[in-house]
């Protein structure tokens, strides 16, 4: 028997549809792909049962139907609401789960494991809950397996554990459903999260405009930036900042810089601005699947 050279594992990837969007899971060691997939699936199920606005049987649907009453909630929904309120507080109300500034998130009463919404208020936890799920899943998978992991939920990305050589390669573009050849930019991150908000992907509630609401007036935000990508310590923070930047419009670069965040903002006309050390878009050879040649 002869000794063999250490094996360099190619990252393994699986992708499926969940919570109304695309879930992508990448792990640095294929041996842990299945347990990692099981864990991500359990996190997706957890957040979907608790915080989905689209499920008639979700806890959030029941909570919204009982606005005005004090309702006991699960740890999952409590965490999702607390995260959304934190995002609202940090963004100065630019990202608000009530989609309204009056009374806005400050009208939510959180006491121990119960929640009370003012009469008539409805919560939409979609964006922050998705990012929270990505953060939780990435952390748990990395802790459980000791392997580097990337979780993307609808293009909102969280990474944890040891990153692959050179970092996690991410292609930022307008629509997460586009391929890596779509117009955009390739960047790498080694930790934290990266999220993108765009006005180009989903129409507004009435079928017109886009879906990012300016809570200050309750209507879709003006389209100064069509797409904003942000990196931060967590996917929740990145998601919050990207959405807040869309709402802020021309004031977004200064606000992002004040937060110390790195961001890429695509103007409505396609021109690109960068903030906080986001790399310039110097040409680079097209990505090639090196992993295949090493496996």
């Amino acid at each position: 028997m002869s000794a063999s050279a250490p094996t360099i594992s190619a990252p393994a990837r699986v992708e499926w549809t969940a919570i109304g969007t695309t879930a992508v899971l990448v792990v640095c060691d294929p041996a842990v792909l299945e347990p990692a997939r099981v864990l991500l699936a359990s996190e997706l199920d957890r957040i979907d049962r608790a915080a989905s606005s689209y499920r008639a049987d979700s806890e959030l649907t029941a909570l919204n139907a009982r606005a005005g009453a004090t309702v006991s909630v699960s740890a999952a929904l409590a965490e999702a609401i607390a995260t959304a309120c934190q995002a609202a507080a940090i963004s100065g109300g630019l990202v608000d789960p009530t989609l309204s500034a009056d009374p806005g998130w400050r009208g939510i009463t959180l006491t121990d494991w119960s929640v009370r919404l003012p009469s008539g208020m409805r919560l939409d936890l979609g964006a922050s809950a998705k990012a929270l799920c990505a953060d939780r899943a990435a952390r748990r998978i990395a802790a459980a397996t000791g392997v580097g992991v990337l979780v993307s939920l609808g293009g909102d990305i969280a990474v944890a554990g040891p990153a692959p050589a050179g970092g996690w390669l991410i292609h930022v573009t307008d629509d997460h459903r586009a391929g890596p050849e779509a117009p955009g930019q390739r960047v790498t991150i080694c930790e934290g999260g990266l999220a993108t908000s765009s006005t180009t992907v989903r129409p507004g509630p009435d079928g017109h405009g886009h879906h990012i609401i300016d809570p200050r007036r309750g209507t879709p935000a003006d389209v100064h930036w069509r797409t904003v990508s942000v990196t931060a310590a967590t996917c929740v923070d990145a998601n919050t900042a990207a959405t807040a930047a869309i709402v802020l419009g021309p004031d977004a670069p200064a606000w992002l810089a004040a937060q110390g965040l790195s961001a890429r903002l695509v103007h409505a006309d396609g021109s690109v601005a960068t903030v906080g050390g986001w790399p310039e878009g110097d040409p680079m050879p097209a990505w090639k699947p090196e992993a295949e040649s090493l496996s």
């Binding site: 100065g92 970092g167 080694c190 790399p279």
Partner: protein, 116 residues
């Protein structure tokens, strides 16, 4: 039992243990957050603020977009509520570095981040 199967089994075992710990941790974490949020908006600067992380390192652009640095600071509506604890990351337009060690996994295919 082959090596891959053994790895999977071991990972599932660790997963069970971490799940139990995380269940407790998430409850405690949410509780702390709720206490903070419930007190009022004035706690905003006591809650962890948006935190920067060393970020994008390499880049390529295949589009007709043009890049321009931006960084004016006119003060923002929320600047008093946020004070990031980490400096902004350094920019680099250098190509992705070669694998640093033979034990490191090769870089995977790019994952797309876009609006949803």
């Amino acid at each position: 039992m082959n090596h891959a199967q053994a790895n999977r089994d071991a990972a599932f075992d660790r997963l069970d243990r971490v799940n139990r710990r995380m269940a407790v941790g998430s409850v405690l974490g949410a509780g702390v957050l709720m206490v903070l949020v419930a007190t009022d908006a004035h706690v905003a600067h006591h809650i962890s603020t948006l935190t920067a992380t060393p970020a994008a390192q390499t880049s390529s652009s295949s589009s007709d977009e043009t890049s321009a640095a931006t960084g004016s600071d006119d003060g923002s509506a929320t600047s008093s509520e946020s004070s990031p604890s980490t400096a902004s990351p350094a920019a680099s337009s250098a190509p992705a570095p070669a694998p640093a060690s033979s034990a490191a996994a090769p870089a995977p295919a790019p994952v797309v981040s876009g609006g949803s």
